[in-house]
């Protein structure tokens, strides 16, 4: 199991603990804008780029779906495949919002992932640097933000 690679060092500890405790195969922590903050289980920047874009879009869709169906946004999603399962949820740290998507198999369970994700959220809350407390909203430059975060995780293009 490889250690997480992070664009912001303060998330490394909580992300590693979540990965180990919940026995996740892979996972990505990102801002709702699609900018990656940390990842584990991936060696290819293109995969993380796709996951960030899809997670960001799924998050926006599921929130609106929740509003339409239930009058309030859906913040957590679980999809059980034949072999692997996907857990997707938002994590709040102060006013800052993050999204997390993780993959697990029969070595874990949804209940276990939910428990350790709640602990992960508490850890983010506790460790959130003060300068980070100012909410990072989307800059409008989705592609640029995504590429900068991928450079931080995997190194600049050409050196990956």
């Amino acid at each position: 199991m490889s250690s997480p690679t992070v664009a912001e060092t303060w998330v490394a500890g909580p992300l590693k603990r979540l990965m180990e405790d919940a026995r996740l195969i892979s996972g990505v922590l990102l801002y709702p804008s699609g900018r990656a903050v940390g990842q584990f289980g991936f060696s290819n920047a293109a995969d993380v780029m796709s996951i960030c874009a899809l997670t960001s879009a799924i998050n926006a869709s599921s929130r609106e779906l929740g509003r339409q169906l239930d009058g309030k946004p859906f913040y957590e999603m679980h999809h059980a495949g034949a072999e692997r399962q996907v857990f997707m949820a938002r994590a709040m740290a102060g006013a800052q919002e993050f999204l997390f998507v993780g993959v697990f198999d029969r070595e874990s369970s949804l209940g276990v992932v939910e428990i350790y994700f709640a602990e992960f959220q508490k850890a983010l809350e506790k460790l959130l640097p003060e300068k980070q407390a100012k909410v990072q909203g989307p800059s409008g430059d989705f592609e640029g933000e995504l590429n900068r975060s991928l450079d931080a995780l995997f190194g600049p293009i050409g050196k990956r």
């Binding site: 369970s109 209940g111 428990i115």
Partner: protein, 120 residues
């Protein structure tokens, strides 16, 4: 087959049982639970955590038991400083009880096994 609500109600009335739960074996999520008995020495509501981790532990114990060619575990009891956690498998669910240290474990075991037979 008894309804899960009946199983939980029956187990929660066994002397010494602080909480009884029916939990999904594969996802570790609570299907049905009794309230945590007043006076239980726990901070906050620990049932969700207990359910998920007990189901997870039971799945690992099942693998260990099968690896040792002993078949599936019939009954699992975890003895802690301030009580016990008992788990019995019943097909797609596991029955979980949180029990006081002075409870009649023989009675708890018997009632859980009987309930599990009714569930399967």
């Amino acid at each position: 087959m008894k309804a899960v609500g009946q199983v939980v109600a029956m187990l929660s009335h066994v002397p010494g049982v602080l909480a009884a739960m029916v939990v999904g074996a594969s996802d570790g999520l609570i299907v049905e639970t009794s309230p945590m008995l007043a006076g239980a020495a726990v901070v906050g509501d620990s049932r969700k955590h207990t359910a998920a981790l007990a189901a997870y532990l039971y799945s690992k114990v099942t693998r260990a038991s099968q690896a040792a060619r002993l078949g599936n575990p019939a009954f699992m009891r975890l003895e802690a400083e301030q009580g016990h956690i008992c788990v019995v498998g019943a097909r797609d669910v596991v029955l979980v009880t949180i029990v006081t240290p002075d409870a009649n474990l023989g009675r708890v075991r018997l009632d859980m096994m009987t309930a599990a037979k009714g569930e399967s």
